[in-house]
Amino acid sequence: MKVGTPEKFIVKGKRLDGRAPDEIRPIKIEAGVLKRADGSARVEWGGNIAVAACYGPREVHPRHMAKPDKAVLRINYNMAPFSVSDRKRPGTDRRSMEISKVTSEALEPVVFTHLYPNTAIDVFVEILNAAAGTRCTGITAASVAIADAGIPMKDLVPACAAGKVGGEIVVDLCDIEDNFGEADLPMAIIPRTGDISLLQMDGNFTPSEFKKAFEMAKTGCEQVYKVQMDALRNKYGKME
C-alpha cells in the first residue's frame, strides 16, 4: 500500500469529500471568456480549472501538416507550473502530448473538418489548477470553446471518469481517490448518438465492475453535457 493511503475511502456511504458514490463534483462552465480568441470556455470542476481557447479555421503552420481534404484539429493541452502542489516543470512532456492527442481524437468525430480543407483548428487547453480528472475537464472545455467559435459540429462532447476506490465503483474521482484508488476510467461520449469517443483505463476492473463503472461514467457525462449546453444558452440564449 502506498504511503498516505487513507484507511477507508467510503465511510457510511459517503466518500472522502462527502459525496455519494454516484455523485459528480460541482461543475461550472462559462463560454466566451477570452476576447481575442474565436471561441473560448472556462470550466471549474471540483478543484480543476481549465481555460480553452479556440482559433480557426486558419492557415496551417507548418504547411506540411495541412490535409488537402479536411481541417486538422490540433489540441494543445498544457498544465500551468502552479497547477499542482509540487511545481510542474513547464512545457510539453509525454503526458501532455498524450492528452493533447486523445483530446483531439475525442473531438474530431463531431467537428465538420471536411468543410475546411487545408486549414487548422487550434485549441489551447490550459490547466490552471489540477485536482484529478484534468483530461475530462480539458475535453469538456475544448468542446464548448469549439462551439463558441462557431465551428460546425454534430454535438458537444462531455467527458467524465469513473473508478474503483476501496473496492467500490465511484464516479468522478477526486484527488486522493485518483492517487490511491485501484482503477480509473475516463470517458467521453457523443450524447446524441451515444457513441464513445474516448475510453481509457488505468488499473484493473473485473468485467462486472467495468460495466458498472462504464454506466456511471456515462451518466456523469450526461450531467456534464447539460451544464455545457447551459453555458452556451447563458451566453447566446438572450439573442432570440
Binding site: G39, P57, R58, A147, G150, P152, M153, D155, L156, Y236
Partner: protein
C-alpha cells in the same frame, strides 16, 4: 419576428427538406450544426450563425490587404484561412489595357475592396476587381467586426449604412468578411468607428437604426 435559437446537435425537424448552411441530416432527421437563429420554412431549413469566422462565399464583397504578389497576380489576406488571388485578368479590363508591371498598380500593403469571383473546389479563392464598386482603397482606416454582425451594419436594404454615410459625410465600405473601411476627416472617422462598435454591441436590439441616428445627432 423572433427566431428560435438553436445549438450544435439540436434536433430541428424530420423529413426531406432542402438544407442550407448550419444544418446536417442523419437518418432523415435534421439537426443544427452551429449556434444560431433557426430559419425553418415549409421545404427549406437553415441556421444563421451568430458567431464564427468569415467563410468565403462567391459574389461577396470583401475588404482585403495585399500581402504578396508575383508577375501576374496579387495575393490578398481577406481574414480567412485561405488567401485570395487577384489575377491581372481580374484587374485590368480590355478597354483600359494591361499594365506590364503590375506593381505599378497595386503593391504589397495596399487595401482593396473586391468581389469574390470564384471559389475552386479545393478552396482557392479568386477575387475580381472588375465588378462595379470594387476598387483600391486609398487613405482612411480599416476596422474589424464580427462577420456575423455585418448584416446589422448594412441594415435592411442598406438603410443603416446609407444613414451613417449621409449623417457623417464619411465614405464607408463594409466587407462581408467583417472589415469596414472608413474614410473622411479624422474626428468623423472616430465617430463612425464608435458607431460601428455600438452596432456590434447592440446588434440584437430592436429599432437600432433610430438609436444610432439619435447617437449621431447627440455627437454633433
Amino acid at each position: 419576428m423572433a427566431r428560435k435559437m438553436v445549438f450544435p446537435g439540436e434536433f430541428i425537424v424530420e423529413g426531406d427538406l432542402k438544407m442550407g448552411d448550419g444544418v446536417f441530416r442523419e437518418n432523415k432527421r435534421v439537426y443544427s450544426s452551429v449556434m444560431g437563429l433557426l430559419d425553418l420554412k415549409e421545404n427549406f431549413v437553415k441556421v444563421i450563425p451568430i458567431t464564427g469566422r468569415y467563410f468565403p462565399k462567391a459574389n461577396d464583397f470583401v475588404v482585403g490587404e495585399i500581402e504578396d504578389m508575383d508577375f501576374g497576380s496579387w495575393y490578398t489576406n481577406i481574414g480567412t484561412a485561405y488567401s485570395a488571388t487577384i489575377t491581372a485578368k481580374d484587374y485590368f479590363s480590355e478597354r483600359d489595357g494591361f499594365q506590364e508591371d503590375i506593381s505599378k498598380v497595386m503593391r504589397i500593403g495596399d487595401a482593396v475592396y473586391a468581389m469574390i469571383r470564384e471559389i475552386s473546389p479545393r478552396k482557392r479563392v479568386f477575387l475580381s476587381m472588375r465588378e462595379r464598386g470594387s476598387r483600391k482603397l486609398r487613405g482612411g482606416r480599416i476596422i474589424e467586426v464580427t462577420p456575423a454582425k455585418v448584416p446589422r451594419i448594412i441594415g435592411r436594404q442598406g438603410s443603416m449604412i446609407s444613414m451613417i454615410k449621409h449623417e457623417t459625410g464619411c465614405q464607408v465600405l463594409v466587407g462581408q468578411n467583417g472589415r469596414v473601411w472608413i474614410e473622411g476627416p479624422q474626428e468623423k472617422m472616430d465617430l463612425v468607428a464608435g458607431i460601428i462598435e455600438r452596432i456590434e454591441k447592440d446588434a440584437h436590439t430592436q429599432g437600432l437604426t433610430e438609436n444610432i441616428k439619435n447617437m449621431i445627432m447627440k455627437e454633433r
